[in-house]
């Protein structure tokens, strides 16, 4: 009869041990002086590496852009572009020559001084043959870079480019002599890299010799989670102070009812698209695309995935782009008209197509919704679930698809419709011309007018079905303030965050 007692005793010892451990629970480190505080950021986007021209992914932009690395210009959280490492700049009357004067006394984290040679090599890293930057094509317009003195950079363009300064805000200025940029850094930002513990966290420490205004906190740790529940639990238990971009709408309720947390509904640039292959039957037919667009209740879809969050735009253009207009009324949800249009286009009994669906949220759920909506107008959808890299090969590279679902994260990306070779194959000479002219505008008003006109045509043609614009939700503890709300292009400036 000793054994059951032994087992019970063992169990008791175990429980006592747990309780003993609990009693030495230490709360999160809260500095009395907020300038010495450590800010814990939670995110699902761990960088793949630390090089934004080497496939670092959106995680590296989130953690390092503006914090560790700076550009000649900065894209603010509200979407404005202002000089940063560029003290001033001028443009020649023909719009082809940009002369940039650098800030004085800027040092890299390694101690080296910023010179025009670093700027030249940094731009060339983005445009290099092996660069994996998604911004590479937008800088292809550069014809030459001169460095007349250590503080001046002169960039010559092949054609006028009104977005040039904006595009430069994506170019990190890196020490020309730096190596191993996938695992180390040498930028000019207010923080230097602490340690990157892969699979877990990445820390930033305030750089004492920073040329500008010092960061308002001492350390920032980006904590990475693969499981959304684990991420939410971390915030609930104060292990982190802020979630950069909540991807779990169901979990928001637990924060909404809690006075210790605040849910910020910011502006996002991420759109969910039902992209048609505009070069292939039946989607080469404008009427068919319009019918499909009108047969799907986007509002219901958005609501089923995001509840009360997110917006409908009716186009590729998010409200933060200067050429935004609400185009939801162009192809309103109306299955009767949709059926009529299908009949007129020669498909009175509908048709069948395959929908290539990336295997991660929210695509599979959206695909099921679209399938049931289109069934009501006689269209049969076969859902083909594929992995992200199958998507790249099959859809993006080989254009071997009828229709697909995909999220597009960048701002100002309506210009992709001006490229007939892009994966969706939308080919409208007038749109291509307008987009090209817009880029060569003299003023932003001109550019805005041209792109607005182009977007109107793209939407009238139902080039794709822009299902909805994601919400950008930052959930934070009420003990911190000063964090960015919009996360444009996944950036997340941390230097103004203050902990009380």
């Amino acid at each position: 009869m000793k054994s059951p007692r032994t087992a019970l005793a063992a169990l008791a010892v175990g429980i006592v041990a747990v309780l003993a451990l609990s009693s030495c629970a230490s709360g999160p480190a809260t500095g009395t002086n907020s300038a010495d505080a450590t800010i814990n950021v939670g995110s699902v986007y761990e960088p793949q590496n630390l090089d934004n021209t080497g496939g670092g992914g959106q995680g590296v932009t989130e953690a390092l852009n503006g914090n560790v690395y700076e550009g000649l210009f900065r894209l603010s959280d509200s979407g404005d572009v202002t000089p940063l490492l560029a003290r001033e700049y001028s443009v020649s009357p023909d719009g082809l020559t940009y002369t940039v004067t650098l800030q004085n006394n800027v040092t890299f984290h390694s101690g080296a001084t910023l010179t025009s040679a670093d700027v030249k090599s940094s731009i060339e890293r983005v445009t290099a043959a092996d660069s994996q930057s998604s911004r590479k094509s937008s800088l292809a317009v550069i014809a030459g870079i001169e460095t007349p003195d250590a503080n001046t950079v002169v960039v010559t363009l092949a054609t006028k480019s009104i977005s040039f300064v904006y595009n430069l805000s994506y170019v990190w200025i890196v020490n020309a002599l730096a190596t191993d940029l996938k695992t180390t850094e040498d930028g000019t930002g207010p923080y230097e890299l602490g340690t990157w513990k892969r699979g877990s966290s990445l820390s930033l420490t305030r750089f004492d010799s920073y040329w500008g205004t010092a960061a308002k906190n001492k350390d920032v740790v980006f904590n990475y989670y693969t499981d959304a529940t684990a991420l939410n639990n971390a915030l609930l238990t104060n292990a982190i102070d802020v979630i950069t971009s909540s991807q779990s709408p169901d979990a928001l309720a637990q924060f909404a009812d809690n006075p210790d947390f605040v849910i910020n509904d910011g502006n996002s640039t991420t759109k969910l698209l039902l992209a048609f292959n505009d070069k292939q039957a039946p989607f080469d037919n404008v009427a068919v695309r319009q019918a499909v667009t009108e047969a799907i209740d986007n509002k219901k879809l958005l609501n089923s995935i995001w509840g009360d969050y997110g917006t409908l735009t009716g186009s590729m253009v998010p409200p933060t782009d200067p050429w935004y207009e609400d185009l939801t009324s162009v192809h309103p949800y109306d299955q009767v008209t949709a059926k009529q249009k299908l009949a007129d286009a020669g498909f009175p009994d509908g048709f069948t197509f395959t929908l290539d669906t990336p295997n991660y949220d929210p695509h599979p759920a959206a695909a099921e919704f679209i399938k049931s909506e289109l069934a009501q107008v006689g269209i049969t959808v076969n859902i083909n679930v594929i992995t992200p890299d199958e998507w790249y090969t099959k859809v993006y590279k080989n254009h071997d698809f009828a229709a697909t679902l995909q999220e597009h994260v960048n701002d100002r990306d309506v210009v992709f419709y001006g490229n007939p070779d892009f994966y969706w194959g939308y080919d409208n000479a007038k749109v291509s011309a307008l987009i090209k002219e817009a880029e060569q505008s003299d003023t932003t008003d001109q550019q805005t007018a041209k792109l607005t006109a182009a977007n109107d045509i793209i939407v009238a043609d139902a080039a794709s079905d822009w299902l909805y614009l994601y919400p950008q939700i930052v959930v934070a503890s009420t003990s911190i303030s000063g964090y960015p709300l919009n996360g444009l292009n996944s950036q997340f400036y941390v230097y103004d965050i203050v902990k009380s």
Binding site: S3, P4, A7, A10, L11, G14, V18, L19, L21, S22, C24, A25, S26, E46, Q48, N49, D51, G54, G55, G57, A129, D130, S131, Q132, S134, R135, K136, S137, D180, K182, T183, K197, R198, G199, S200, S201, S203, V221, N223, Y225, T226, D227, T229, A230, L231, N233, A234, L236, T237, A239, T387, D389, E390, Y392, T393, Y396, K397, Q406, H408, N410
Partner: protein, 325 residues
């Protein structure tokens, strides 16, 4: 025994080589090219080609395999396609989490399951014997992540007594902190493991209790305790040791679920990310190291079994004698 050990070691190496070939072949059967994972929307055909060249996925398969084998022999598991970081040290930093997690759970589970299983068998007709048996059955049926979620919700979210997840940035520099982080994950695994091991201990004990030799020993005047101590335990432990080896290996490989629930930067987490990114060096490295550890566990279990059971040693010489004859 020395010959046996040597032979077993050779077998270990051959298994490892075979496993590496199978791993390599299976991974290449996956659709898609790893280069694609490196690029974002907007990539040109030239960019994709450049990426393929940079990671060597444009080379013939044979060439890729030979290069990889060469690296293994020099204990170099390669460099991640994606992060540009050497895979070996990265794996080592993950093992700092996964090995303690697995081993502590295992030791706790054995310490609890052996007495509990024994009692469940010895008193199989009493109410507490039946209860223990029933509870262990229940423990087997409950999904491990659910146990983890329950523990988090109670100890972390309600009581705020333990962390809901994560692991200290300084690893084991502050051992108490590390142990606090591992407490709930360890309990989670221990519960499931205990349930399973209890079942085996119980059935092994039941076999022994009904055996002829135990009855014979008692008829020769040994007390139950003496008979059990001298004959029963040893016999019962042979199948249990075999099972323990398998349990340990399964737990090591299955830790991925618990690591995900508790946001632990372990080996499973590394494997999942590697698979999602088609990062072949990472996937191969993690699977190779896991295979190696599992084979080692099997090796130890085999050796322990031979030490416990003289019949296994006898069999071997007997077979050889028969061949000679």
């Amino acid at each position: 025994m020395a010959v046996y050990l040597l032979r077993r070691l050779v077998f270990l190496l051959v298994s490892l080589l075979l496993a590496s070939a199978v791993l390599f072949a299976l991974l290449r059967l996956l659709p898609g090219d790893p280069a694609n994972a490196l690029l974002s929307v907007g990539a040109t055909a030239e960019q994709i080609e450049a990426a393929r060249q940079s990671i060597g996925s444009d080379l013939p398969l044979g060439q890729q395999f030979v290069a990889w084998l060469g690296h293994i022999f020099t204990l170099d598991l390669g460099t991640s396609f994606i992060s540009g970081v050497p895979v070996g040290p990265d794996i080592a930093s993950r093992l700092v989490v996964t090995i303690p997690l697995t081993l502590i759970s295992f030791v706790l589970a054995v310490l609890i399951a052996v007495p509990v299983g024994y009692v469940a068998a010895r008193r199989s007709h009493r109410w507490y014997g039946m209860t223990l048996s029933g509870v262990s059955q229940f423990g087997l049926a409950v999904p491990i992540f659910w146990i983890g979620i329950l523990l988090i919700s109670f100890f972390a979210l309600t009581l705020r007594a333990l962390p809901a997840g994560g692991f200290p940035r300084q690893d084991w520099a502050d051992p108490l902190d590390a142990i606090r982080s591992l407490t709930l994950p360890v309990i989670t695994i221990t519960i499931v493991m205990t349930a399973s091991i209890t079942r085996y201990v119980r059935s092994a004990t039941l076999d022994v209790l009904g055996s002829d030799y135990l009855r014979t020993a008692r008829s020769l005047g040994a007390s139950f305790r003496q008979a059990m101590w001298h004959h029963g335990l040893r016999n019962a432990s042979v199948p249990v040791v075999a099972i323990l080896g398998i349990e340990l290996a399964t737990t090591f490989l299955g830790a991925v679920v618990v690591e995900s629930v508790f946001a632990l930067p372990g080996l499973g987490n590394m494997l999942l990310t590697g698979i999602a990114q088609h990062d072949y060096p990472v996937i191969q490295g993690v699977l190779l190291v896991s295979t190696f550890l599992v084979l080692i566990v099997g090796f130890i279990a085999d050796v322990v079994q031979r030490l416990i059971d003289p019949r296994l040693r006898g069999n071997m010489t007997g077979q050889r004698a028969a061949v000679v004859r």
